[in-house]
Amino acid sequence: MADIAHTSKGDECEVVLHCPPELKKIPLVNHDRSFAWITENVASICEEKTRRYWWIAFFPLALIALLVPTLLSYQVANGVGVWGENQPFGWAWDITNFVFWIGIGHAGTLISAILFLTRQKWRTSINRAAEAMTLFAVMCAALYPGFHVGRFWKAWYLFPIPNHMALWQNYRSPLLWDVFAVSTYFTVSVLFWYVGLIPDLATLRDRAKSKIKQWGYGLAALGWRGGNRHWQHYEMAYLILAGLSTPLVLSVHSIVSFDFATSVIPGWHTTIFPPYFVAGAIFGGFAMVLTLMLPARLFYPQLDDMITRNHVDKMAKIILLTGSIVGYAYLMELFVALVYSGNFYEYNAFYNRATGWYSWHYAMMMFCNVIAPQVFWSKRIRHNYICVFFICQLVNAGMWYERFVIIGTTLAQDFLPSSWGHYTPSWVEVFTFIGTFGMFISLFLLFMRFLPMITIFEVKAVKPEADPHHEPDHSHGEKSAHPKEAAVH
């Protein structure tokens, strides 16, 4: 629309002029805030004196996070036996939690890469926090397979490093693909996040009052000066990273699903897994983004104008969409297993899933992931932050149950009833899992404290006056009459 308004004469501009109010774009930044206002209100969060609330939140969470190193040391000292898993339940909570955390990370990459490529400009105010969330979630995830190998000090066998036994990895194993996928994912996410941070670190450097901050942010900003000759390559690098992250994020959860799909266990051996896992990951990840961002808006009310009702609304819609895809996958899975396949073991696996020992997990999964997000059809609920937060908690829980249902129920009751077995998590597993939440949220609080939570330069760039053809002084006749349309295209 903007191009029409700018490049063409008379008639087509009339189209813009008579645009009915309901077709007008909702501004991405409310109250028409200035560039300086954006800089001031985002940067001040990391410049002001640490608030008491922050300490009140951080201290207990950091203490909970200490459970992770403590209990993992205990596990290393005593062996994997301190976890409750045993044959036939070899992959219990730890792989469940691995898939849970890595799935959460996917929303961050989706926001930063896929929404960038599809030119969804509303992503600008949430992408930084979502990418940070990705990194912390992948850190939590990577702990599990690392420690599940048992002899943690030999975890380096996972990587192709020449060793004294002249052994090499089996590159035909999906578990090894996982090693490559997850480590690539983490590295690329760190690079993407850091590249996005460089201009904002320069902003913090230029605003810094103390020598230490100037040095710290200055070193990290690499001497960024914002010249267009730099921006040119920067934008290209950013575009390429977005283009690379998109197939990467889809491949990571596909490969995670191959861990299951390439096995011959009934309930795992299905081709529906890759798209179903990816949709589930985005679904759960957006719920976690909202879980973190809604309280952040409460802490820092100035973010209201950048993370608007419209943003929350759009994220709720994505949760609704991906939740429905997940629901479709659940039903399709049931249809294939119970009706279509004609495979006795497949039939039993799903029958036992829904009615067997872990049926209440299955019911929780269905309720939280399929039924609960359907309330987002209502605009009133999407606009009620308390409701949105509550539904997101259900989704967070539901996605955990989904992974447990896929992993656990399948292992508990496979082919021969004589080799079936129950599983109860040990206290070590329970507290390690609680510890990862402490670690995740306390890392996020540190991020909020020291780095700009919102991508300052990108939010400025989506403002109407960031467009060079935006004329605020009404000197150019019809096209200046609707500056909003002219810029938010």
Partner: protein, 188 residues
């Protein structure tokens, strides 16, 4: 005076809006300057054209890096699985002559390494091409320039430009509507 030891690095002018710097940039380009730059708090859409710049060649470099990653992955899996330590899984062929028939299993590793190398290429290519990291630059001597990462826009014409002349360039920037036109020196 100490001033005589300073070397003039550039002359800078400040602008208030995106459209002001955009139109000024077009005029600087048309005047024939080459060693100059527009410093903006965010990438300005269309500025490359206004400055007469060509497309960034970073993508070609990234392609080369991606290709390197792909070949690295290919060699990593084939040399180890066919040569150094042949692994027989699922009865799949594991030698050079027949192994190619079972390559699909090796694809994920090659795929991930292609992406990994490309990402490194994009980030480090950008950093190196931009001459970063650079922890000191004459522009940091100009106190108003700190606003370049906030809400002001700057055109900097460097003294190394063949068309540069202290008086004429100053007058030229003034005619473009630039404010706070300031000579920037190598050191304070």
């Amino acid at each position: 005076m100490a001033e005589s030891f300073k070397r003039l690095h550039a002359i800078g002018a400040e602008f208030d809006t995106t459209s002001a710097i955009y139109h000024a940039a077009e005029k600087v380009r048309d005047a024939g300057y080459t060693n100059w730059d527009c410093h903006t708090p965010f990438p300005v859409h269309g500025m490359d054209k206004a400055m007469g710049m060509k497309k960034s060649w970073l993508s070609a470099f990234v392609f080369a890096c991606g290709l390197t990653g792909f070949i690295t992955g290919l060699l990593l899996v084939t040399v180890t699985s066919f040569g150094l330590y042949p692994t027989i899984v699922n009865g799949k062929p594991n030698d050079w002559t027949h192994g190619a028939g079972a390559m699909q299993f090796f694809f994920p590793v090659m795929y991930e390494l292609t992406i990994l190398f490309s990402a490194f290429g994009a980030v480090f290519g950008m950093i190196i091409r931009n001459g970063l990291p650079k922890f000191h630059h004459p522009l940091f001597n100009w106190s108003r320039f700190a606003k370049a990462t906030d809400d002001k826009f700057f055109i900097i014409i460097e003294s190394s430009d063949p068309m540069f002349s202290e008086t004429k360039t100053k007058a030229f920037l003034d005619s473009l509507g630039g404010k706070h036109i300031t000579p920037v020196f190598d050191h304070e």
